[in-house]
């Protein structure tokens, strides 16, 4: 793995007696695209603000490139932030906005001019030097905000829900744009979002947070395919989360039926949570699967059909390209490798929460 760039050590922060971060530990490597993902109030923005120098942690240390920067003010840190609402300076032109950081550092004019050109080219907005921020669209303003940050050649770029205010299509374009930018600049990105799709698309590493705790750290694939607890499973994508019993290694009982699985080491006759992604639920002819049921709901979603199947006293969410009308009798089957076994939640913050996004 690459060199460590940032180390958050036992960071705690509370506002008015309300604990937002509790002894958070996080290591970020050079040239990594890290996403802090979680519902609002999970502490992701606070973490970013502590990194940016806008908040001081109550306890703990922030180590940047081997140096303790916990008490270093924001203007002395070798990192830059792209703010949620762009925070462009309205009374300055685009060029003046981009030049702001360099002028503060007393860089020569020719250097600044070159940098402005380079940055505008990088964000595909050449020729926009003299425009006012107000005359630009949301997406363009966001690009300027990024340009303004990167001309300072930060080692680390912090992005606070930068695409939150854009519409869906533009958001998707900007996601690719950000990946390209990161690769061209070769710097570390820390990205905060509550949008799981955004996180899955762009990140090298996703840090799922809830109520001030890190729930899981991993690649998008591992977070999606092997959620460690019900909260992660529920927050990332749709899922069926069922209570079950681990009979012994590689065999789990769900709703009275025994499924083969690939998980080991949970013990024998141990209560567990089971996650099955809706696209992994196979609907087969009655009698051929493990649990019998009937389709109770059907929605066309474009890429696939989404169905609800009442089976074994549980309402299964099923996604399939093959449509079955409401009332169809079906049988449910799941491939062993698509069954994800998790320990029962150890605390409240690991429980699945209703999504509000």
């Amino acid at each position: 793995m690459a060199k460590t760039l940032v180390n958050l050590e036992k960071i705690s922060k509370s506002y008015d007696g309300h604990l937002v971060l509790d002894e958070l530990d996080l290591t970020i490597h050079e040239n990594e695209f890290v996403t802090l993902l979680g519902p609002s109030g999970c502490g992701k923005t606070t973490t970013l603000r502590i990194l940016g120098g806008f908040e001081r942690p109550d306890k703990g240390r922030v180590v940047f490139d081997g140096m303790d920067i916990t008490n270093l003010p924001a203007n002395k840190r070798n990192l830059n932030t792209v703010f949620q609402k762009y925070a462009l300076f309205p009374h300055m032109s685009v060029a003046e906005n981009i030049a702001f950081g360099l002028k503060i550092k007393n860089k020569p004019k020719s250097y600044i001019d070159d940098k402005i050109k380079y940055a505008l080219k990088l964000v595909n907005l050449d020729g926009y030097e003299d425009r006012r921020p107000n005359s630009l669209s949301g997406g363009q303003q966001q690009r300027i905000a990024i340009a303004r940050a990167i001309v300072n050649e930060p080692r680390l770029l912090l992005l606070d829900e930068p695409l939150g205010a854009l519409d869906l299509k533009l958001r998707q374009d900007m996601q690719y744009e950000l990946i390209r930018l990161k690769n061209e600049l070769g710097i570390t990105f820390i990205y905060v979002t509550h949008d799981q799709e955004e996180a899955l698309t762009m990140s090298d590493t996703i840090v799922v947070m809830n109520q001030g705790y890190i729930q899981q750290i991993g690649t998008p694939e591992s977070i999606y395919n092997e959620p460690e607890n019900a909260f992660v499973a529920d927050f990332i994508g749709d899922s069926n989360i069922l209570g079950g019993t681990m009979i012994h290694d590689r065999l789990v009982e769900i709703l009275g039926a025994r499924f083969d699985c690939v998980d080991e080491g949970f013990g024998e006759n141990k209560p567990v949570d089971v996650v099955i992604r809706p696209e992994d639920v196979k609907l087969v002819v009655p009698g051929e699967g493990l649990i019998e049921g009937v389709v109770s709901h059907l929605i066309f979603k474009g890429v696939h059909y989404e169905m609800e199947v009442q089976a074994g006293g549980f309402e299964w969410l099923v996604q399939s390209t093959h449509m079955r009308p409401v009332g169809t009798k079906v049988s449910i089957n799941v491939e062993p490798s698509n069954i994800q076994i998790m320990n029962k939640p150890a605390s409240e913050d690991e429980e699945a929460v209703p999504l509000e996004v």
Binding site: P73, A74, F89, F100
Partner: protein
């Protein structure tokens, strides 16, 4: 119909002032008849030493009190910005009450305060009183501007390497400048316009235009007073136009 209605309203509103303006150009000394157009009242006005002194006092008072009130009000707004919502609302409320207070009450309170403190009445006491009653107007015009301010622009400036002073003067200040200007002009106008509070806080021998007019009128109305009143009206009118025009121009 609508137009007629509006014209009527304006007629009622401006008839008295219009009468005054017309009379200030009347060559005849009596109000009863029109003696032809003249500017002589204006000329004789500017030959009157006492009136010129009062004019100077008025302008100096307006400029100084507006300037000082703007600085104090601005600092107050900055401080309020970092307060909690409840505290801020409370302080805003307290700051606004003096505006609603009857001027005569304010004037007499000032007088009593200065007497009890043993302060000698003069230009200084008027200035203090004007600064005080101007502060709420300044806060009222800066505060909304400050609230609209995207607080992250300040943080963005820090993020880009500016220290807090640089961030304030280069980023926050230009953004709230229209509010500061209109606050200043508002305070200037209020001071220019004031009679009652000045009347109660002035010392002997110090006069502003409004108190001067009042003393003159008590002796009997001279046509010079029409022209002086016309000039004050014109000045306030222009200032009010400026106050209302400045913020809008910026928002385009």
């Amino acid at each position: 119909m609508k137009k007629l209605y509006i014209s009527l309203i304006f007629l009622f509103l401006y008839a008295p002032i219009f009468t005054l303006i017309v009379l200030s150009f009347n060559a005849s000394k009596t109000r009863a008849k029109w003696g032809g157009f003249t500017l002589k009242w204006y000329f004789s006005l500017f030959e009157n030493e006492a009136i010129l002194q009062a004019l100077w006092n008025t302008l100096l008072l307006a400029a100084l009190s507006a300037l000082i009130a703007t600085v104090i009000g601005l600092v107050a707004c900055i401080a309020m910005q970092s307060m909690k919502k409840k505290t801020r609302a409370l302080i805003l409320g307290i700051a606004n009450i003096p505006m609603l207070n009857a001027e005569i009450v304010t004037g007499i309170s000032f007088m009593l305060l200065f007497i009890s403190l043993g302060v000698t009445f003069g230009f200084g006491t008027i200035l203090l009183a004007h600064i005080t009653f101007n502060i709420p107007y300044v806060i009222l015009s800066i505060q909304p501007r400050m609230k609209q301010l995207n607080t992250s622009t300040y943080e963005a400036a820090l993020d880009l390497g500016a220290n807090s002073l640089q961030a304030f003067f280069r980023i926050v200040f230009p953004d709230i400048l229209p509010g500061i200007l209109s606050g200043f002009l508002m305070a200037f106008t209020m001071s220019l316009d004031d009679f009652i509070i000045t009347h109660f806080t002035k010392g002997p021998g110090v006069d502003t235009l409004s108190t001067k007019i009042y003393t003159e009128v008590r002796k009997g109305i001279k046509p010079e007073m029409y022209s002086l009143s016309t000039l004050i009206f014109a000045a306030v009118f222009i200032l009010m136009l400026l106050v209302n025009y400045t913020p809008r121009k910026k928002e385009k």
